[in-house]
């Protein structure tokens, strides 16, 4: 059974001859790259402040799975067998956690109840519960993003409303002529709303395009910044549908309001009589 060495370790490349057979250790790839350590090298590990060090042979490297919760972690990880870690740290019979893999079809709930009923000084959790608890921070950040998105939509809608009003006022004269020659209000409504919806959707298309580019940049920048493979930003199909849906809705609402505002004008005044 392997154990993650959470203790702070001081690692130095060893050039000394080995006195006793060194135990194997697996290092995080980033640590190997930073310290130019290759598989088969011997490293000396010691606890901070300690004078004695232990020799370990690097048997391999591994990259930790992408974990948003550990993104700001600056320390590096090493894996060794539990007995080796116990010997190294002089602490026996201690583990941080034990994970269980159930046989297919096993009743997870009853096992959980049975384990927690033992009162052996631990608490058993489902993997999903642990994931939900540890992702609470990201739920909060997601709520923050939603609030900012709502403000962006409000700004965009107000921006569009101002432009549509400008456009409609510019068209007052020609719309007045259209009404005089018998074009129905319904048709004028349809044209103005269609134009507003088109304008909003062109904006949405440009926005989605910019979002795709920004998303790529964000992923590339933060992956490099945090040295991780995590996906920081993704544009999914429903985001695009939502963007066009909101744009169309805002377009219809603002187009209707603007046309209603326009029809309140006196036709003779519109035609300058």
């Amino acid at each position: 059974m392997g154990m993650n060495a959470l203790l702070p370790l001081i690692i130095a490349l060893s050039t000394l001859g080995r006195v006793e057979p060194a135990q194997p250790i697996v290092l995080e790839s980033a640590l190997g790259q930073a310290m130019h350590i290759a598989a088969g090298d011997t490293v000396q590990l010691r606890l901070p402040g300690a004078t004695l060090s232990h020799a370990y042979v690097v048997s391999g490297f591994y990259s930790p799975p992408p974990d948003p919760a550990g993104i700001s972690r600056t320390s590096r990880q090493a894996w060794m067998t539990l007995p080796d870690l116990e010997q190294f740290s002089s602490r026996d019979d201690r583990v941080s956690r034990v994970v269980l893999s159930l046989t297919p079809g096993a009743n997870e709930d009853s096992l959980l109840d049975a384990l927690n009923a033992t009162e052996l000084g631990f608490r058993a959790y489902r993997a999903a519960d642990v994931a939900r608890q540890s992702s609470q921070t990201f739920v909060v950040i997601s709520n923050f993003h939603k609030a900012i998105s709502f403000l962006s939509i409000l700004t965009g809608a107000a921006f569009l409303a101002a432009i549509v009003l400008l456009q409609v006022q510019e068209l007052r004269r020609s719309l007045g002529v259209l009404r005089v020659i018998g074009i129905s209000k319904r048709r004028i409504y349809t044209v103005v709303i269609g134009e507003t919806v088109l304008l909003a959707n062109v904006g949405a298309a440009a926005g989605v395009g910019i979002a795709v580019l920004v998303s790529r940049f964000v992923n590339s920048y933060y992956r490099s910044y945090f040295s991780t493979n995590l996906l920081f930003s993704s544009i999914e199909g429903w985001h695009v549908i939502l963007a066009f849906g909101i744009a169309s809705t805002v377009g219809v609402v603002l187009g209707s309001l603007a046309t209603t505002y326009l029809f309140k004008s006196d036709i003779n005044e519109v035609l300058g009589r």
């Binding site: 959470l6 203790l7 702070p8 001081i10 606890l47 901070p48 402040g49 300690a50 700001s72 600056t74 320390s75 590096r76 033992t118 009162e119 052996l120 000084g121 631990f122 609470q136 921070t137 909060v140 950040i141 709520n143 923050f144 609030a147 900012i148 403000l151 409000l154 700004t155 107000a158 921006f159 409303a161 101002a162 432009i163 009003l165 400008l166 456009q167 006022q169 510019e170 933060y222 910044y225 505002y261």
Partner: protein, 395 residues
């Protein structure tokens, strides 16, 4: 004169002005909030560090205080070196660990040092002997204890197997307040040696902090902090030594996302302000070409026309500044409420701290963006071909 004309022009299209001001107000509010976000975290970190009051921190290599379970196994040489340094007034050694009272975990801090400023005793008195303990309000409430009661502490959670494991009886002598406590966290302060004995780690500490001479009311000068930190780092290359600025930047690195988010959103807010003013004024000038040509033919100078357009922009921005400031102030509280729902945040931690400095800065930046955006339509209005425009507009 031109300002009055500009005011009438803006008020002539109230609906349009209203929507423009709404959009600009949100942009100003967002900019102000992002400036607050950027500064709020710095202010909070500084406030927490200032309340603790120590300038130099020595931690296990690559760690920050309380971010890992890592400890300095042999803290004696560090404390001795600090005590020998004449620039250091006092030190405080801290060992943080989780202990248990029955099955309830308790975050215990073992401390050793004179005139500590890590916590404040709000009732009773501080610990003075090895078997004394002070609790924060959460712990006192959870364990139903008052001053003078005794508390049985265990290293591990109680269980059938560990029923015979040793417990340590402690007397509660006071209730404390710790500035960086987590909400709902049960915290206790004990003598350092007691915690080391319970953990069976004599000499171990989580970190050692030092207060420099000459800065009793505030912090010692940064240069002196750096010099002390550098000399300790040279003596103990296996450890991480932080002066105040190094600690602040290390803490801020962990929240770099928010800083960058604030920068990006601030830029977008300014861009929106620029585009909005430019588009609204450009279309407005196009709509009023005849009117502008008439004014020019009546003898109004180009400069007057330019100042009229710039005044219109300034007026829109001034209205937006008023609404945006109010919106930004309240929005900061709302956004802060969302972010502070995050678990594991110290009590009193703020992301957004409403401040006039940031509001004024947002108004100044938005104003500058708006005036720059108005320059092009203003120049275009001033250069209108008078005969041609009058001919087109009238005929």
């Amino acid at each position: 004169m031109m300002a009055r004309v500009a005011f009438r022009n803006v008020m002539r299209h109230r609906m349009r002005t209203m929507f423009t001001v709404i959009a600009l107000s949100i942009a100003v509010a967002l900019l102000a909030d992002m400036l607050m976000l950027s500064r709020g975290m710095e202010k909070t970190f500084y406030r927490v560090l200032a309340s603790v009051g120590y300038e130099v921190r020595v931690c296990p290599r690559g760690t920050l205080p309380f971010t890992t379970d890592a400890v300095l196994d042999e803290s004696g040489p560090v404390v001795t070196a600090m005590n020998r340094d004449e620039r250091i007034e006092r030190t405080l050694s801290v060992l943080g660990t989780t202990l248990h009272v029955d099955s309830l975990p308790l975050f215990a801090l073992g401390v050793e040092g004179e005139r500590q400023s890590l916590y404040r005793v709000i009732a009773g008195r501080d610990v003075a002997s090895p078997n004394e303990i002070v609790l924060n309000k959460n712990a006192a409430l959870a364990f139903h204890t008052t001053i003078g009661d005794s508390l049985q502490l265990r290293r591990d959670a109680s269980s059938a197997v560990l029923a015979f494991s040793s417990t340590r009886s402690m007397i509660v002598t006071g209730v404390i307040d710790i500035p960086f406590d987590l909400p709902n966290q049960r915290t206790a302060i004990l003598p350092l040696k007691t915690v080391q004995e319970i953990r069976d780690q004599p000499g171990a500490v989580s970190f050692v902090v030092a207060k420099l001479k000459g800065g009793e009311e505030s912090f010692a000068p940064l240069d002196e902090q750096k010099a002390v930190a550098a000399s300790l780092a040279a003596k103990f290359p296996d450890l991480s030594v932080y002066s105040m600025d190094e600690l602040l930047s290390a803490l801020q690195r962990q929240l770099a996302y928010f800083k960058q988010f604030a920068l990006i959103l601030s830029t977008i807010s300014l861009l929106v302000t620029f585009l909005l003013v430019a588009v609204v004024l450009t279309i407005g000038v196009g709509e009023r070409r005849g009117e502008i040509a008439a004014l020019r033919s009546m003898g109004f100078r180009r400069r007057s026309i330019q100042s009229m357009i710039l005044s219109e922009s300034a007026l829109l921005l001034a209205m937006s500044a008023v609404f945006g400031s109010v919106l930004g102030w309240f929005l900061a509280g709302y956004l802060d409420h969302i972010l502070t729902q995050s678990p594991s945040l110290p009590e009193g931690y703020r992301f957004f701290i409403p401040a006039w400095r940031e509001i004024l800065m947002a108004i100044a930046l938005s104003g500058a963006a708006g005036i720059i955006a108005a320059t092009l339509p203003a120049i275009s209005a001033a250069r209108i071909d008078i005969p041609k425009t009058l001919h087109e507009e009238v005929v």
